[in-house]
């Protein structure tokens, strides 16, 4: 220890310096790199702008600007004789009025859910005078975020990336010059004591843990240690060096990640694993993976098939189909595997060759194919012959990918081995069948068909629904403040009917097609069966302030004409995005305004009010800033969420407020989502500016439903 002590006496000082300089160098490098990135981004942006302005400039060049002859031409005299006098006719251009201020925003055609912001992203600047007037405003704002402001370097001085780089950089030192300390480092590597030695100057107790992790860092225990002491780093080391570097190795994946099924490293895994990513990320409501709108996705395992498909078509796929074998034989063979040589290569399709080695076997089942060769093969019925003719299946190589794929498909196709083989592509159905026999223990049986109860009569269902929803609406009226419209969340309570404990029922929402409850659920909205345009209260969807659901309303046309704009159902405009063409121009009232290009009829859909969906709390925090700016794009969606079109939105966000508006807003339930539609309050002429009443809280639209419904009940 004495020796090492001496070494360490000299070591830490030098290491400390070294680490410090390396760290500084890396930081600087990083800064430079960042600056370069910013520069290149800026110049690429600049390029884009230039391209766009070029289009306009080209036009200007082509334009002939007529000189005004009355006015004297513009002349430039030069004091020197060698320069001639320059004369050019005077061209006058019209003054261009400046446009109102616009803060940048991103276009959006559908709502976008964002999480609450835990830190204040920027301190809003609203001019010096406001800050002077109301100095406390910013303080309060920061307090709203618990004092957290973006860019604070609370934990930012070292991160994984820079740590790895630093260690790499220091590694070089040890390799090149620190030969004499090799022994010392060796010690460090293995001896806990050494660690403690080095740790002496760093008093923090909880660094112990970090340093133990550091034990695995080859040779650079000292500097690492020092660095933490140096900067008085309060936390543990984020991740061990080893772990970080290993991730960079090719092919290394986190344990929960299934290897690529199309890649060379595909492994044989269970069905759940193969489909795990797909199952967890798929949004059944948006049909997208990792969608922008629904943070919680239900996994499919509890979904029940509406109708069990005919899984086994009962016909052999060819002359080498597994069905051509007597079932007993194969089963027997599967139980008693024989070690025969493989005469057939993997990947051959059944009809490619192998005719001599695998004679067709006539089965007991009547079949046209087998009839042809029936006579010839009739004598091959003996088990012995079969064993000889059909090569042993056990030796067929099943790659990991194939095996995984098989397990995936068996969960979908069950016993339709021909189909499975077709989809796998590299195996015959016989091989699939044999593989299946081998795996029989782990594979679930096809669900019984009789699970499904026969569907009830639609009419009866409608009637049931009507009474039910009366009940619900009455309840709504009872509690009075029907201002509470709650966000819909698909319910998932297996083997429990949708009663008072169901979240849909308590939130007074209907169960949607996304709910996990049975299709017989009382709380389900059955859709309309209109043959008209669904724009009167005759339509139950319209009455319930819902758009027609293309999967429920099959007669009104909401499920037809996907590619054309003229749908007979007028109650599906939001979901189809059948918005009107809007034009932006400085408003006649204030700031920017939005103008309609074509005239519209009364009650016609104009546009959806899109934006970020934020929680009510987040809206409160953001609203404080917006109120100060005197410019707010917040719009109450329901009890849980608010639409904020400040950062993301569409053109309708520019519609101004008016107490005598020509538009109105309506929050509608559109395929399970609340969305805001802007509709024409009266007939609107070409080029009119659009206004709606901001004050009219839009949950009210849903509130009135209850009252109207009650009145309708006889």
């Amino acid at each position: 220890m004495g020796l090492t002590g001496r070494k360490s006496e000299k070591g830490p000082v030098c290491w400390r310096r070294r680490v410090k300089s390396e760290y500084m160098r890396l930081r600087q490098l990083k800064r430079f790199r960042r600056a370069d990135e910013v520069k290149s981004m800026f110049s690429s942006n600049r390029q884009k702008i230039l391209e766009r302005t070029d289009i306009l400039n080209q036009e200007w060049k082509l334009r002939r600007i007529q000189p005004v002859h009355i006015m004297t031409p513009c002349t430039v005299d030069s004091g020197f004789s060698e320069f001639s006098r320059q004369v050019i006719p005077l061209k006058t251009l019209n003054a261009v009025a400046s446009v109102p201020v616009m803060y940048s925003w991103s276009p959006l055609q559908q709502n976008f859910m964002v999480e609450d912001e835990t830190v204040l992203h920027n301190i809003p600047y609203m001019g010096d005078e406001i800050l002077d007037q109301d100095g406390t405003f910013i303080e309060e704002l920061i307090k709203n975020y618990d004092g957290k402001v973006h860019g604070d370097r609370e934990c930012g001085f070292i991160n994984d990336e820079i740590f790895v780089e630093l260690v790499n950089a220091l590694n070089q030192y040890s390799d090149n010059e620190e030969d004499d300390e090799e022994e010392d480092q060796h010690d460090c590597k293995f001896e806990k004591m050494d660690l403690c030695d080095g740790k002496d100057d760093a008093e923090d107790s909880h660094k112990d843990h970090a340093l133990i992790q550091l034990k695995y860092i080859k040779g650079i225990l000292h500097p690492k240690m020092k660095i933490f002491s140096l900067f008085n780093y309060p936390h543990v080391v984020p991740n061990p060096y080893k772990e970080l570097t290993e991730q960079q190795l090719p092919g290394a994946l986190p344990p929960e990640c299934t290897p690529n099924i199309d890649g060379p490293n595909a492994k044989s895994v269970q069905r759940e694993q193969s489909l795990h990513s797909f199952h967890t990320l798929f949004c059944r409501r948006c049909f997208k993976y990792d969608c922008f709108l629904h943070p919680f996705h239900a996994t499919p395992n509890t979904y029940k098939r509406k109708n069990i498909e005919n899984l086994v078509d009962g016909k052999p796929c060819g002359i080498y189909c597994y069905m051509e074998y007597p079932a007993g034989v194969i089963a027997e063979r599967a139980k008693t595997p024989s070690k025969r040589t493989v005469s057939r290569r993997r990947g051959r399709l059944p009809n490619s060759n192998s005719r001599p080695s695998t004679p067709t076997v006539n089965t007991e089942t009547k079949d046209t194919d087998s009839d042809r060769e029936g006579g010839a093969n009739s004598r091959c019925q003996t088990p012995v012959k079969l064993k000889l003719s059909s090569e042993p299946p056990e030796n067929v190589d099943w790659s990991g990918a194939e095996a995984s794929l098989f397990r995936v498909l068996i969960g979908t196709y069950y016993d339709n081995f021909c189909a499975i083989a077709r989809l796998i592509g590299t195996k015959t159905c016989r091989q699939v069948y044999e593989f299946r026999v081998k795996e029989s223990s782990i594979i679930a049986r096809a669900p019984a068909v009789d699970e499904n109860t026969p569907q009830r009569k639609k009419k009866r269902k409608h009637r049931l629904w009507a009474t039910h929803c009366r009940k619900i609406q009455l309840k709504k009226g009872l509690y009075g403040s029907s201002n509470h419209v709650y966000n819909y969340q698909p319910c998932d309570h297996p083997r429990q009917p949708c009663d008072s404990s169901c979240p849909c029922v308590t939130a007074q929402n209907f169960c949607e097609k996304f709910c996990q409850c049975s299709s017989e659920c009382q709380n389900r909205f059955p859709g309309c069966r209109c043959k008209a345009q669904c724009n009167t209260k005759q339509c139950p969807c319209y009455l319930a302030v819902r758009e027609c659901d293309p999967d429920l309303c099959l007669t009104c046309g909401a499920a037809d004409h996907w590619d054309s704009k003229n749908v007979s159902c007028k109650n599906c405009s939001i979901q189809r995005g059948a918005k009107k063409h809007l034009l932006l121009a400085p408003s006649d009232v204030a700031g920017w305004g939005i103008f309609i290009k074509e005239p519209v009829q009364k009650n016609e859909f104009i546009s959806e009010y899109c934006g970020e969906i934020i929680s009510q709390d987040e809206a409160d925090r953001r609203g404080k800033v917006y109120d100060k700016y005197m410019c707010s794009f917040l719009f109450n969606l329901n009890n849980d969420f608010v639409v904020d079109a400040t950062r993301k939105g569409n053109k309708i966000r520019f519609a101004n407020h008016s107490v005598n508006p020509n538009c109105y807003a309506k929050v509608m339930m559109v395929n399970g989502d609340h969305r805001i539609g802007i509709f024409a309050k009266r007939a609107i002429q070409t080029g009119e500016e659009l206004f709606f009443d901001y004050r009219y809280s839009q949950a009210d639209a849903l509130k009135y439903v209850g009252i109207e419904r009650e009145m309708e009940i006889p």
Partner: protein, 640 residues
């Protein structure tokens, strides 16, 4: 003395009155001089280089002579009663069937002199030939049987040539003595030959034809339709023109004007009528049949001269501005007279509406730009829209109308037209160099907006109706629009493109790919298929479960080759199974999609090895692109 004194008193009394009057006049001028001058200037400029045609305005539609689909526009109708010549007595000459003469009518356009011309160039436009009865007996002939000729008023329009100074009608009667072959008459009977080139040749042929016959006599006469001041000289009525016999000299060859020939007459003007030869005809201007009384003043050139108008400020008696009659014409009563006289009193209010001057006019011409509005409604509309420096108020009056004119204090000269024009046509609004090419913009040419019936009541002063009235004037796209992303002005050709038409803006596409890329526990193959599918769904905007089969098949069609090339088929199959697990597609769809995939694979050209490997890299682990992207999100984190 007394009378002297008296006169002095009168003088004294008159002087202040005069001064007062003068001061009043000063005030009046102060108020109205400037705007009037401006509008005079604009009027002159609009005549030289029109920036709009009044007839295209809705309220002036009756000025549009071309509205009629039949294109029977206003025209000059000449009905020839007969050719009278004392020398022949056709009525007594019963054995001779030659009781008609051949009449040719030409429109002579005397053009302005160009620099090189010695005299004024003359253009002769033949308008037709007719057989006119010779010395007819009115008791025998029915009035409907008279030959008539139409001269389209288009001929008098300046559009044909800006240089025309005056228009006159030239009548040429060919009379071939007593015996003439029948064929000649037949030859000439076809009507309205207005083929210029054919004329001389025919003439020659005719002359050669009747070379052995009698020498034809030719009589000519010329009447001015519009004089140099573009004033209409021929009003409706019956005319008798004395004709001059000329020697056989083709008129068209001559450059001399016809005035010089007529000057050489010795006969006193009215004596010719007693002896002839004279041509009798009835002249009518026909325009829109609905309003025949307006016809004589409907012609585009029949505007008043500047000299008459430039003294509006002075009180002048607006006596009927009678059209000067020609000495040679004997005017009888016009068939369309008399029309109801409409007197319009312009009441000029000034000095804070404390003083007023009244002036009356008997026609519907705009006092500032001399535009003949022809209807009271049009006049009022024109005044309101074109002379916004004034405020006009219409008050009904038993004799016609009273229009109160006052200065519009709110007038600020700001541009009220379409700002699009200013933006896209800088410096072009008031072109002086003739027509300029405009930017190509699609405008609705045919549009039938709901229009209120023109009613004078809209000009009556009302308390509150004004703002609403004003609104209808500015409906439509009377503003410059901007791009919502860049705040750049929208070019007219971009009006039709909705920048919001794309369902998947670029940033959103980028967002979804980066978001999926960020997952640490999703492998590359899965990521690739998920990204493709997401972009596919975003682009097509699928919204319902029953679209999923169609969506999957479309996905195969669009992305199939890519999937095959990147070796992602099994991942794609997993995706399909996933859709099946979510109850969105059936196994039949999976089968169909995979069969289609195989077909695409077979149809794809074989890839070269090098390309294959480079393409397939995304699947190997060579692309574990950037550690920086990893370590952000996990799928388990999402699902929790």
């Amino acid at each position: 003395m007394a009378p002297q004194k008296y006169s002095a008193q009168v003088m004294n009394c008159k002087k202040p009155k005069m001064e007062q009057l003068q001061a009043d006049h000063e005030l009046f001028l102060q108020a109205f001089e400037k705007p009037t001058q401006i509008y005079r200037f604009l009027r002159t400029r609009n005549l030289i280089a029109p920036i709009l045609l009044h007839r295209t305005l809705n309220f002036m539609s009756h000025r549009n002579s071309r509205t009629n689909a039949k294109s029977l526009t206003s025209h000059l109708q000449l009905t020839f009663t007969g050719f009278f010549h004392k020398n022949d007595k056709p009525c007594q000459n019963s054995e001779n069937d030659q009781n008609s003469v051949s009449l040719e009518v030409l429109l002579v356009k005397v053009c302005h002199k160009k620099r090189k011309d010695v005299s004024c160039p003359i253009k002769q436009v033949p308008t037709g030939k007719k057989q006119v009865p010779l010395n007819p007996n009115f008791s025998q002939t029915k009035s409907g049987a008279f030959p008539s000729l139409l001269v389209s008023s288009n001929e008098f329009e300046p559009s044909n040539s800006h240089m025309v100074k005056s228009y006159s009608l030239l009548f040429r009667v060919s009379h071939t003595g007593k015996r003439d072959p029948n064929g000649f008459i037949n030859c000439e009977t076809d009507e309205n030959i207005d083929v210029k080139e054919e004329l001389p040749s025919r003439k020659k042929r005719n002359s050669s034809h009747r070379g052995d016959g009698e020498i034809p006599e030719t009589f000519v006469a010329q009447m001015t339709v519009f004089d140099k001041n573009r004033r209409l000289q021929l009003l409706d009525g019956e005319y008798e023109v004395s004709m001059q016999q000329i020697e056989d000299c083709p008129v068209s060859k001559k450059r001399a004007t016809w005035e010089t020939i007529l000057d050489g007459k010795r006969l006193p003007p009215f004596e010719t009528f007693s002896q002839g030869p004279t041509l009798q005809f009835t002249l009518r201007w026909t325009g829109d049949s609905s309003d025949p009384s307006m016809a004589p003043v409907a012609k585009p050139l029949s505007t008043r001269t500047l000299s008459e108008l430039h003294l509006l400020v002075r009180k002048q008696t607006m006596a009927k501005d009678s059209v000067s009659t020609s000495m040679q014409t004997r005017r009888e009563q016009s068939p369309c007279e008399p029309r109801q006289k409409l007197r319009i009193f312009y009441q000029f209010l000034y000095n804070n509406n404390t003083r007023q001057q009244t002036e009356a006019r008997d026609d519907l011409h705009c006092p500032w730009c001399t535009l003949n509005c022809r209807k009271l409604y049009s006049l009022l509309k024109h005044l309101k829209l074109s002379h916004s420096r004034f405020i006009f108020n219409y008050v009904p009056h038993p004799k016609g109308a009273r229009i109160d004119v006052s200065i519009n204090e709110c007038y600020d000269g700001s541009y009220v037209g379409n700002p699009q024009d200013i933006h896209s046509q800088p410096g072009f609004a008031f072109s002086r160099n003739g027509p300029v090419k405009r930017t190509a913009v699609t405008h609705i040419l045919v549009c039938r907006p709901k229009r209120f019936k023109p009613s004078l009541s809209e000009f009556l002063e009302s308390e509150d109706g004004e703002p609403e009235q004003q609104r209808t004037y500015v409906s439509g796209h009377n503003r410059l629009y901007f791009h919502s992303d860049s705040c750049m002005p929208l070019r007219p050709q971009e009006m039709e493109v909705d920048s919001e038409d794309e369902r998947d803006p670029e940033w959103l596409r980028e967002k979804t790919t980066t978001q999926i890329e960020e997952f640490t526990d999703v492998n590359e193959g899965e990521k690739e298929v998920m990204k493709l599918w997401n972009l596919h769904v975003m682009k097509n905007g699928f919204i319902s479960d029953n679209q999923m089969t169609q969506a999957s098949m479309l996905f195969v069609e669009n992305c199939g080759p890519y999937i095959i090339r990147r070796n992602l088929c099994r991942n794609f199959l997993l995706h399909l199974v996933n859709l099946h697990d979510f109850n969105l597609v059936t196994t039949a769809t999976i089968d169909r999609a995979m069969v289609r995939m195989k077909e695409i694979e077979e149809s794809l050209p074989e890839l070269e090895e090098g390309q294959d490997s480079s393409d397939a890299t995304c699947n190997g682990h060579a692309v574990s692109s950037g550690v920086s992207l990893h370590g952000k999100r996990t799928k388990s984190g999402v699902s929790d």
